[in-house]
Amino acid sequence: MCSLALFPAPLPDGQTTLCESNNELLSGSDGHDEVVFFLQELSPLSLFFPRESLKLHSRTESSSRAAFLDHSETLWMRSAAAWRDSGLTGLLTEITNSHTEVPKCLSVSSGCTLALLQWVSSFHGSLFPHLTLSSEDMIAEFSQVLNWSDCVVRAFAWHPHTDKFAVALLDDSIKIYNPKSATTPTLKHRLQRSVAAVQWKPLCASALAVACQNCVLVWHVDPCSLSTRPSSGCAQVLSHPGHSPVTSIAWSPSGSLLASASPMDTAVMVWDVAAESCVPLQRVGGGGVTFLSWSPDGSHVLAPTPSALFRVWETRMWTCERWPCVKGRCQSGCWSPDGSRLLFTVQGETVIYALTFTDSILYTPSVTGFHISYFFCVDLSSSVGGEIQSLAWDPRGERLAVLLKGDPQAADRPAIIAVFKTRTNPVFELLPCGFVQGEADAEPRLMQFHPSFQHGALLTVCWSSGRITHVPFYFLSAGVPHFGLSGSPLLPRPQERCSALANQSLFTEMIS
């Protein structure tokens, strides 16, 4: 139970972390030739989106009515327009305002109804304070991206099987980069606003799900197509009343289902994308769902709520287990590759918790019990870092990246990524690895591991400057047997874990 103090000290300003090799993180100034040579392979993937290059659309809010001259319409016309524009509330407001034209009882009763509605909504808002936020603020609050509203790169997703990735930008467009093709399709859609998350469909080359403000879009981008602006006919719109803004989406690893979550909606929507039909999984309590994470083996889904409670759904019969947190809401979580262990963090604490699942292997629909333990894992309170924004575990279960928020008030505690070495077999262990840093004045905003990097793990980081860089971690995986010639890494092999490091283990699970 130790802290970040055991980590090697962060690099001085201006040095960037290049990669991990031989069990140490190499920085930019060290000058390792073979590393630099190797990194050139990745260079086409690094991108830079200066903020100035994006054409932001001017924020036109709700109505442009003020720009037009007033024009006398009949009461019915106005009521109909109000009903169309803003629903029941608008209609009632309109009737109440035009009390000179309608019978008194009507205006009074509509005023009463309006007052009652407002009262009820204010009461509801006081129960769940997040409901009073605007949808943009809500996405920023619950997104996995640090400081989402100000971030040039709002979402990032690697394709699960190939080297292509999608980047959602501040101007609500999505660009798809593929090192093997010259075209970079740009996806734009009328409904594609405030993108909170993107994810590629597993076991599919083309489908990309996008969590937008009012709906979920599923783009079908033909990888062989040469067009740079796929038409909006390529996108399926999945929307459900009351299910907006969507802050998180998750494909099932088998690629058959898509789950989406909104902090406004207490139900998790499970979509059958082909049929465009959805099954709402309604559970009261919590006031919404902020984030979804499907375990890599497809058996569980983590679904935190805006209050101090998160749920773990089991995907066979879709039953859930409630886990009340102690302090705040669950901010982020990630699954081990075999789906047996869940790491999660709680807002307001600098601790990573671990949750271990032992699943009954037999397929019997009646068995649902799965959890065994819930323990306090690592305390990250230290001189650097701060609260935890998000967690990412590489697909082999060897490196765990933790994005720490830092302290906005203190200049010496910027946001930073701490990387742990992890071992899940035979006991769960966390060892310090180091900090990942970018250029001076660039804060990490978003990170993701490459899902199928051959030589170890590849961490992609989006920085506040608009740059996207990739930090490879070269190591030989202990668990995964590597095949033949193609799988062997080119870089010098890492030595055995030195004893000094092994003693510094941050956390070791007790054998029971």
Binding site: W119, S126, A205, S254, L257, V270, E276, T319, P365
Partner: protein, 1208 residues
């Protein structure tokens, strides 16, 4: 001004005065005493504003002015009289307003801001509290009196203590709680910045006014009805509580939610405490004889208070006398106490004396002791203890000390032992550590061994492949073997396996069959115990009984769903009764009436009737359901479905049930709907039975709604049962879809009632006249007829029609929903069983069965789920049969899945051909129709011999329309007017001619024949080598192709063709006809994929199994089938891709939310496309580069390579 027109206060005072007069008691003195002062103050206050604000201003102006001035007025210090005087400075109408405001809380109107306006008064609160005190006391007394009224041995005694207690309680509530609240708010205000803060006086004022609602409530409590009291309490609580909550809401709104909840709940809680406390204390079971002395004590206290206050001039003589008495008593008491004390003193003195004596005794005893010691010492020396070495110089004390020493040593030894054990523990833990590291190493060793195993496996696979190659080479050498007539077209690479299967086929029919024994008696196990159906010809007989058994599962499920629907009926009926009879004016009356109605005999009778209806609906559901929707491709086909006799039976059943339900509704609603006839007096004075048109209209509405329900059921395919992609428990699924059902039934009822009203308006006179005639009823001419605009524009009538229709549809929909949920529940089939009797319920066996369709679907669903979730059951699939070592399970499953997929491919290809030739292939098809019919008999004859694979038919026994329209077994594909028959005109004339031939031969043969046959070389041309290699497509048609291609259109067919063209040409000019016969866009595509759910599951199951086989298949059973599976999938992929390039195929259907019909069949083709791609990707990602070792044609390899590179 104020005093003059202030009847309210005057009355109040009078009331108090009355009370005082009535109870001539000492209590009143003090009260009256207090009473006088405020009264004076009030008068003073009433005059005051007149002096300050000007005499002639009216109320409104004055009001504004005070409001303005109040801020500037310099208020005197709070200890002065003037300070409080200003709070009594108030107008009558203000008081009235405030009281009304407190009684009627208005959302959004804050009491303080709206009514007080920074000008709180104490006048109202004080008087309200006082009134309340007296009201409580008086009504408490009265109610007590009323309770005991009439009892013989009861003598009424007024309980005056009630006044004091009420005063204490209410005044403390009205002063202390505001004080506490004020403090809390002040404290919270410092913590968080609030915009709103209230002064102490405002809070008191609010609290005081909030009590005003209790005054009428308390008066109501006089009546000795417990429910009335509680009702009034609840109402009063709600009103006053909401006033308080709404008032203090702005003050705490910005605070922490927990604090808000705490404050608000405290406010409400105190309110409840007060109300409920008052009620229970003052109006509960009376204690008739309260001890009198109690009251007298109270009286004395009051009097003493009065005297001490120097206001004793009003104390009566009686009182002084009483006081005197009391003093005298006290004096007596004091004297008595003095004597007692004296007695005590005496006792102490005697005790002192005895102590002296004791001291003396002690002294003498010590002296004796000393002497004794001396003697002991002398004795010791005499005995010689002093000189013995052991006891030398040791006293007893020393010895004891020695003993202690020893003990200490002992304890130290024990400690050492403990330490030793600790070290032992350490060592053991170290040992454990080493053991774990050992296990770690062992793990690594194991993984290495696993690697080794994998490698050997690979090696084995390679060997096998090599062997296969060898075998193929041999086949090249002897090509005649594969084309042996009668041989199954399936030639597996697992040569050994294949051989064994085919030998088993050649076994005599009854080789494995045991005699079926009668087991009708033990009905507890629905599906079991049958003869093992072997791969042979005894199959048909077997299937029949087997089907009978398996259908029982579905029957049980349907029965369970109906039982639940019946159980749900009473609550639904209760809700309906309450909704139908509810009247806003008498809510309580309505509810009590409803309850009495629900328990009446008539209600129970109608409930039984409704149960019967539900049973009937459930039975119809079971009879008519289908898992494959029948999709009408043109308007005329839809019309045909609607006019079909079976549908007629269905509709009339629904009509009758609708009438029954409507009759029950009419009885439960009661009133004017209750009976069909009523006695009425004619104009000439004679009485007759007249027709009650309200009853009639309700009954007819039921019939109409039932009829339209059954028609809509056909149009929306409501009998189609779809399977969900997401598995959920039944209860959760039911709960999830309940709101949808309510919404659907309400909207559907609305539309039905609208249509019904229109119909009744125009045609209502017909049934009316008919009923009148048959039942010999008269029409009451004095009442408006209902089939007029005025009669139908009756809101209550419309409401009752709507609610009855909703009730009817809701119960039926609920039954349907439950049926769907129960029937589609996952069923676990065993993969293999150790007993031969149960073999026919195993998954591979059920999969290959054709009927009932739903079981096949359930088996496929189970296959998809087991392949995804259950390693142990997958293991069974990959296992080898015990004697013989054949992968029977895998073979049966894969063969079935492949045949399903191949069937779909053929269908798609055939359809595509028809579309591509744009009807020109028709001559060929019609020409070959007769030819092939004879030929299919050959095919079908050989089919049983050739393979146990099912035919292309997807037929449910329950798909009524399909069955009865054509009158022969057919696939959805071949339903009349379906896409492959390119023109509907072809059918009537042609069918008449070809009917006798067609009826005896399965229709499918004719359909699949020409197109497929022509198509086959094209499709498989590139894969001829693979065909030669032993992986031919599993299609029997391809085998029979050479003979059919020789067939040529005959003369008769050409003549018919010409005639048809003429007729068509003629008819095409008629717009209506064209409208009817034009194909609905997209419908043909939907029809093609109508049963695709089965294909989806087959794809999922097979791909998951292949994925799992990579690590779980120990014997390599999957390897042999891999090439054929891959090619089958790729061919299907090609066909599907081609299909989606057709117009309308890729257009999405409109989503209609509010219909009970399941629209999933409309999107099945998209789901199939997605699943197919995913399945191929699943295999390619799992196998990766290993796929290079799989044999397949170059074209397929190219195609597969695209998948490997993620380019498709």
């Amino acid at each position: 001004m104020a005093s003059a027109n202030d009847p309210f206060q005057f009355q109040e005072f009078e009331e108090a005065g009355n009370l005082l007069e009535a109870n001539r008691d000492a209590t009143t003195i003090s009260i009256e005493d207090e009473d006088v002062k405020p009264e004076k103050q009030r008068r003073a206050a009433g005059l005051n504003p007149a002096a300050g604000g000007g005499d002639d201003e009216d109320a409104g102006d004055y009001d504004d002015k005070t409001e303005l001035l109040s801020g500037q007025q310099k208020s005197p210090p709070f200890w002065t009289f003037e300070y409080y005087q200003q709070f009594f400075d108030i107008e009558t109408h203000h008081v009235k307003e405030r009281i009304i405001g407190s009684v009627l809380p208005w959302p959004g109107k804050n009491f303080i801001q709206v009514y007080l306006r920074r000008n709180p008064d104490l006048y109202g609160p004080f008087w309200i509290c006082t009134t309340l005190v007296f009201a409580i006391a008086i009504s408490g007394n009265i109610s007590n009196f009323l309770v005991h009224l009439g009892k013989p041995n009861y003598k009424y005694t007024p309980e005056f203590q009630k006044v004091t207690i009420a005063a204490t309680a209410i005044f403390s509530y009205a002063w202390l709680v505001p004080f506490a609240l004020w403090g809390v708010l002040l404290w919270r205000n410092n913590k968080t910045m609030n915009l709103v803060s209230y002064s102490f006086m405002e809070i008191i004022c609010v609290y005081g006014y909030s009590l005003s609602i209790y005054i009428p409530a308390v008066v109501l409590w006089i009546f000795p009805f417990e429910w009335l009291r509680w009702c009034s309490i609840v109402v009063a609580l709600c009103l006053s509580g909401s006033v308080l909550v709404m008032t203090f809401w702005p003050a705490v709104r910005d605070d922490h939610p927990k604090v808000i909840v705490a404050i608000m709940s405290a406010v409400v809680l105190f309110n409840i405490l007060l109300a409920v406390g008052c009620k229970t204390y003052f109006f509960s079971k009376p204690e008739p004889a309260l001890p009198a002395n109690n009251s007298s004590v109270a009286v004395v206290i009051k009097t003493t208070m009065a005297t001490s206050n120097g206001k004793g001039e009003k104390v009566s003589k009686f009182e002084t006398l009483k006081l005197l008495e009391k003093c005298r008593k006290e004096r007596d008491d004091a004297m008595h106490r003095e004597s007692v004390l004296r007695e005590k003193l005496r006792q102490y003195e005697t005790r002192m004396r005895s102590t002296e004596g004791l001291k003396q005794k002690l002294k003498t005893l010590t002296m004796d002791n000393k002497e004794l010691r001396k003697q002991v010492k002398a004795l010791r020396t005499e005995i010689g203890l002093e000189c013995s070495p052991k006891f030398n110089g040791k006293t007893t004390k020393d010895i004891i000390y020695d003993l202690h020493e020893k003990e200490r040593e002992c304890t130290s030894m024990v400690e050492k032992a403990g330490k030793l054990s600790l070290t032992i523990d350490d060592l053991t833990s170290e040992l454990a550590n080493t053991v774990t590291s050992k296990t770690l190493l062992e793990d690594q060793v194991q993984s290495l061994q696993q690697n080794l195993k994998d490698m050997t496996n690979n090696q084995r696979r390679l060997l096998k492949l090599w062997e296969d190659k060898k075998a193929q080479r041999e086949q090249f050498a002897l090509p005649a073997i594969t084309q042996k007539p009668g041989q199954r077209p399936f030639v597996h690479k697992g040569i050994q396996t294949e051989m064994s299967v085919s030998t088993s086929q050649k076994l005599p029919v009854n080789a494995f069959e045991t005699k079926p024994f009668s087991r009708d008696k033990d009905s507890k196990n629905a599906l079991d115990k049958h003869s093992f159906p072997t791969y042979g010809n005894g199959y048909h007989h077997d299937k029949k009984t087997f089907m009978h058994d398996d259908a029982k599962v579905i029957c049980w499920r349907a029965a369970a769903s109906i039982a639940w629907a019946v159980l749900l009926l009473p609550p639904v009926t209760a809700v309906f009764v309450i909704l139908s009879r509810f009247s806003l004016l008498h809510p309580i009356h309505t509810i009590s009436e409803c309850f009495s109605l629900l328990t009446s005999a008539g209600a129970i009778f109608s409930l039984i009737l409704l149960c019967g209806v539900i049973l009937m609906v459930g039975f119809l559901n079971l009879e008519y359901y289908t898992v494959i929707p029948t999709i009408a491709c043109s308007k005329i086909a839809l019309l045909g479905q609607l006019l079909h006799p079976r549908q007629f039976v269905n509709s009339s059943a629904h009509c009758i049930m609708g009438i029954i339900v409507a009759w029950c509704c009419a009885v439960t609603i009661g009133g004017r709907y209750e009976t069909i006839g009523y006695p009425c007096t004619h104009s000439d004075g004679s009485t007759h039975m007249c027709l009650n048109e309200y009853h009639l209209i309700l009954l007819l509405a039921g019939a109409f709604v039932g009829f339209s329900h059954s028609l809509l059921g056909v149009i929306h395919n409501m009998n189609f049962v779809s399977f969900h992609t997401v598995q959920q428990y039944k209860y959760l699924r039911f709960k999830g879809s309940l709101p949808l059902v309510v919404k659907c039934s309400a909207t559907q009822a609305l539309y039905s009632v609208r249509n019904y009203v229109v119909v009744y308006f125009f045609l209502g006179y017909i049934p009316k006249a008919w009923i009148c005639k048959t039942l010999n009823l008269h029409l009451n001419s004095s009442i408006h007829p209902l089939d007029s605009i005025a009669g139908l524009l009756d809101l209550s009538l419309l409401y009752h029609l709507w609610i009855s229709a909703t009730f009817l549809l809701f119960t039926w929909y609920i039954t349907l929903l439950l049926f769907r949920i129960f029937v589609t529940e996952v069923y676990n089939f065993p993969v293999q069983s150790s007993f031969t009797e149960e073999a026919h319920q195993c998954l591979p066996k059920v999969l290959t069965d054709k009927e009932p369709m739903i079981l096949k679907f359930l088996a496929l669903q189970d296959l998809a789920l087991l392949s995804q979730h259950s390693p142990s059951r997958r293991c069974e699939v990959f296992s080898l049969s015990q004697p013989g070592g054949h992968p029977h399970n895998w073979n049966a499953i894969s063969r079935e899945c492949l045949s399903l997929l191949a069937d779909l491919t053929q269908r798609l290809v055939a359809y595509h051909d028809t579309v591509a030739t744009n009807g020109r292939a028709k001559s060929l098809s019609t020409g070959s129709e007769r030819k092939t019919s004879s030929e299919t008999s050959v095919t079908s004859g050989t089919e049983d011999l050739m393979s146990p694979r099912p035919t292309l038919m997807m037929k449910t026994p329950a798909s009524v329309f399909a069955r009865s329209i054509v009158g022969g077994p057919q696939s959805p594909l071949t339903a009349p007017f379906t896409p492959d028959l390119d023109s509907p005109f072809a059918s009537p004339s042609l069918r008449r001619l070809t009917a006798p031939v067609e009826q005896c031969s399965p229709w499918h043969g004719t359909v699949q024949s020409p197109h497929v046959m022509r198509r086959v070389p094209k499709l498989w041309s590139t894969s001829t080598d693979s065909q030669a290699n032993g992986s031919p497509p599993p299609s029997p048609a391809s085998v029979a192709s050479p003979q059919q291609q020789t067939s040529k259109p005959s003369l008769l067919a050409q003549f018919l063709q010409n005639r048809k063209e003429q007729v068509k040409h003629f008819l095409a000019k008629r717009v209506l006809i064209m409208y009817l016969f034009n194909k609905l866009p997209e419908a043909s595509s939907q029809a093609l994929f109508a049963d695709s759910q089965a294909h989806i599951w087959a794809l999922e199951g097979i791909s998951y199994l292949i994925q799992a086989s990579f690590s779980e298949d120990q014997f390599g059973v999957v390897q042999t089938a891999l090439p054929s599976i891959l090619s089958c999938m790729l061919v299907l992929q090609e066909a599907v891709d081609r299909h989606f390039k057709l117009p309308h195929a890729s257009s999405k259907p409109l989503r209609s939310a509010s219909s009970m019909g399941d629209p999933t069949y409309k999107t099945l083709r998209f789901a199939l496309r997605a699943t197919l791609k995913t399945a191929i990707y699943r295999i390619t990602t799992t196998f990766g580069d290993h796929l290079n070792a799989v044999q397949m044609s170059a074209e397929h390899r190219k195609r597969l390579q695209q998948f490997v590179e993620y380019k498709d």
